[in-house]
Symmetry: C2
Subunit: 197 residues, 2 copies
């Protein structure tokens, strides 16, 4: 196997890339500027040395505490629980939330040996007491695992004076009923909102 | 801009990758095995040092002459002209061709300053004389530029005793008439084949 086949094989292991797109990329890299290849190669080799989970919330950061945790203007009493660091970016992009985050780096999956301890859920309880959090918004994915993780967190906080909420599920904005799945439509019925006049 | 944003930005410059898929890859790399990241980073940094165009045909190779040019069992009198090195792989995958290749690394594009000299078409003439080539199969893409490049090559060889052919255009096998473009259908009419009984 020559260096080109090796590169294609390595690239094809990345998520969302098949043999064909990995091939297209490799041929593109062969015609790319060498400075670009050096920069990209180095960026990939060094990414795990440079970026770490924030010691506070688990979000990825190049410093010990992430920008959000280090920002005193963020609302410390509203805490949003997400599965993955990339969910933080997604929510930040909406501009809808000004509180702090807690990244689980996973969901409860008993069959895979991931229980409350592996997710560090006691840490979430400790943090929310420290910050005297008033509301926890659970933004785990609307999947079976995301739902059961949300339920577990709800029960974990049942003796605390903390409001627990969960992101609404329903029809995606701009979507078409025809293409929505039955479960989303069912949930959007149950969670229907009264229109005021 | 931190190292993570930099990595996303670099990956997003690759063909077929947008900001979103570059982000998904970067987060995946943060959780990947460090050995994998080192291997991929190095493979990208070094690819241009390890792989070069074959001195004979222009196909990419890790040695001076590519495997096909170095293979004495390939039919030296049939030569297939392609635009890019990846086209060699595509044709090899069909198992349909046992001759040698000539990679142009482009097509005639006078507006971009790419003329016969930039494509090294005299080199193609020289090579085909050297190998006493009997047939040249032009496999440039069925685009405006690919067609005019094919026509130029045809004229270049008009005084030579060489059969010139061009890959057939028409309906893709397994395709549906309904989804074929008009031009392909038009061409498949003109190039229709008589059925024997």
């Amino acid at each position: 196997m020559n260096a080109l086949d090796q590169l294609i094989e390595l690239l094809a292991r990345m998520p969302g890339l098949g043999k064909k797109s990995a091939g297209r990329m490799s041929y593109w890299l062969l015609q790319a500027d060498d400075d670009f290849n050096q920069a990209l190669g180095q960026a990939i080799s060094q990414i795990k040395d440079k970026i770490h989970p924030c010691v506070e919330c688990g979000n990825y950061s190049d410093s010990e505490r992430c920008e959000i945790c280090a920002n005193p203007t963020r609302d410390q009493v509203q805490l949003c629980v997400v599965e993955q660091p990339q969910d933080v970016q997604t929510i930040e992009a909406t501009g809808e939330f000004r509180g702090i985050y807690h990244v689980l780096h996973g969901v409860l999956a008993p069959l895979d040996g991931i229980g409350p301890e592996e997710l560090g859920l006691q840490n979430l309880l400790r943090r929310s007491k420290e910050h005297q959090v008033k509301e926890i918004i659970i933004a785990t994915n609307p999947t079976l695992e995301g739902d059961s993780t949300a339920m577990y967190i709800q029960r974990l906080f049942k003796d605390q004076d903390v409001k627990i909420s969960r992101l609404a599920t329903g029809l995606p904005v701009g979507g078409d009923m025809e293409y929505a799945d039955t479960l989303s439509i069912a949930r959007s019925f149950r969670a229907r909102l009264a229109l005021e006049d």
